[in-house]
Amino acid sequence: MYATALRVVRRHDLADDVAQEAFLRAWQALASFDLARPFGPWICRIAANLAVNHVRSPEAREEELPEGHAEQRAPGEDPLTRVLDREAEGLLERALSSLPPDQRAVLTLRVVEEMSYREIAEALAVPTGTVMSRLARARAKIAEALRPYLGSAGAQAGEGA
């Protein structure tokens, strides 16, 4: 849930706020919650909605994640590989940050949360066709940014485009 929020809002303090708020909302709705239903997806959708609403709000200011938040490297890893890893990761981070929040939210819900288009459409209150088009655009932009790292597939796709 925190991870979903962070992927959408791109800042720890905002993601933390969203995660806590999601629990608050879930808490307030707990009396009417059907215990037979799975709790995790329900609260994750609340979090996703809150995250999207936040990034849509006029006062939302998105900032780059602080440097050095990325993970540690495996000791003994090939230095060249490490450099390439960092470059690719940086590219991906930047590409994700540059996506419109709505596209980023759809991409996160589909790729990370593995929600169906219909579920995403319901969660974000948009038509399924909108989900489809946003997702396609988001993927295309990320692919464009990562193309140098996509190997033969990227090269061929680039030539074919």
Binding site: E21, E71, V111, S152
Partner: protein, 389 residues
């Protein structure tokens, strides 16, 4: 060659096209290298996005539950309402635990149990759990996966041949390879309770279920990501790690021991484990030697027919039901016994209005609601709600 299908590849990848559309795309892919490459590229994008680590500050989740509690309490005060009854804290704790626990890598105490990821496909294992890896200096370091972005011709061939929406499931070595727990629900649908391993990231479930060396079977090197093996670790790992987390959360939420025990039950709620539990519950009943089974049935019948006319008799009857549930936890009728404990507790608490009786009722109720095998949660919830009125 037919017209390129770039505009439909994203939906094709997700299995969201109609049968007719998907058939058209598949046919085109069979003869178009450019579109096939683009499909692979999109799959690689997903893989990269999924594999991008998400990092929380050190000890972030240690303070999450109390902070949520503070927020909820502040919210209740701000609204000036009476708020929800206290027993719901226990339920919330159980649910919170069910959401958070599956995301904690159980191997953090045993970093050497797993070699550093070297195979591209291994890298997905680090999804989200990397935050914990960072928070734990001893945890296995994580790596980012540019390597899996590279697509081999073999993978391309097999991907091209596949139908939409099956990429993740059918091709262990493909670019979109995700380790799947064998019994996991279908991806993207019904992610299930978090107490169940969320299908959301089969990679996650594998990562989460790494086990300490002493628990780990002699899995072939270099990784423990064999789907079947990963699935088999889940229950044991969670069961072993859950008590400490349950204890902490129960403390955060101010629960008693019984409620905490119930929370542990909720944590252990995992489909396969649940199934096994149910089977286990049924098996002894069938396999019981006649005398023992008959004795148990007799005891149950005796309890069932007992009428408690006074407060003391109600107390005694409640304890008798409790004893039956405790002595025969595997008996399918233990569930009813636990409910009777709560029902009698409500009667007693209503009659005496004593704080210790109310506390006992709440402890029994929350412990029941948090049980993975509880079959009458609605009934118990109604009992508690009724009492709080």
């Amino acid at each position: 060659m037919s017209v390129h299908v770039s505009d439909r590849l994203s939906a094709y990848l997700d299995g969201e096209l109609s049968v007719v559309d998907a058939g058209g795309v598949r046919q085109h892919l069979a003869s178009c290298d450019a579109c096939s490459a683009e499909l692979l590229e999109l799959a690689a994008v997903d893989r990269a996005v999924r594999g991008l680590p998400v990092t929380a500050p050190d000890r972030y989740f240690d303070t999450f539950a109390p902070r949520v509690r503070t927020r909820i309490e502040s919210s209740g005060r701000a609204r000036g309402g009476r708020g929800l009854p206290r027993w719901t804290w226990a339920l919330a704790a159980a649910l919170l635990l069910a959401v958070i626990l599956p995301r904690i890598p159980w191997d953090r105490a045993a970093p050497a149990a797993r070699p550093a990821a070297s195979h591209p496909a291994d890298k997905d294992d680090h999804l989200e759990t990397d935050s914990f890896a960072r928070a734990q200096p001893s945890a296995a370091p994580a790596t980012f996966p540019p390597a899996p972005l590279v697509v081999g011709r073999d993978e391309e061939e097999s991907l091209r041949r596949q139908g939409p929406g099956r990429l993740d499931e059918k091709q262990p070595s493909s670019i979109v390879d995700q380790p799947k727990a064998e019994a996991a629900p279908s991806p993207g649908k019904a992610r299930g309770q978090y107490a169940e391993p969320p299908p959301k990231a089969a990679a996650l479930s594998t990562a989460e279920t790494r086990v300490a060396p002493e628990q780990q079977p002699q899995a072939p090197a270099p990784s423990a990501r064999t789907p079947a093996a990963g699935a088999s670790y889940t229950g044991a790992a969670a069961a072993n790690a859950a008590p400490a987390e349950a204890e902490k959360l129960s403390a955060d939420f101010g629960l008693g021991d019984e409620a905490a025990a119930g929370v542990e039950g909720a944590v252990a709620e995992e489909p396969r484990a649940k199934e096994q539990l149910e089977k286990k519950a049924e098996r002894p009943a069938r396999a019981q030697p006649g005398s023992v089974a008959a004795g148990r049935s007799g005891a149950l019948h005796s309890l069932d027919s007992r009428v408690a006319r006074s407060l003391e008799e109600r107390r005694a009857l409640r304890e008798a039901w409790r004893k039956f549930a405790r002595d025969h936890p595997e008996d399918p009728r233990a569930d009813e016994a636990r409910v009777r404990v709560v029902a009698l507790g409500a009667e007693i608490a209503r009659e005496t209005s004593k704080s210790e009786d109310v506390a006992q009722l709440r402890a029994d109720g929350t412990a029941y609601l948090a049980r993975a095998d509880a079959r009458q949660k609605e009934r118990v919830k109604a009992l508690l709600v009724e009492f709080d009125r």
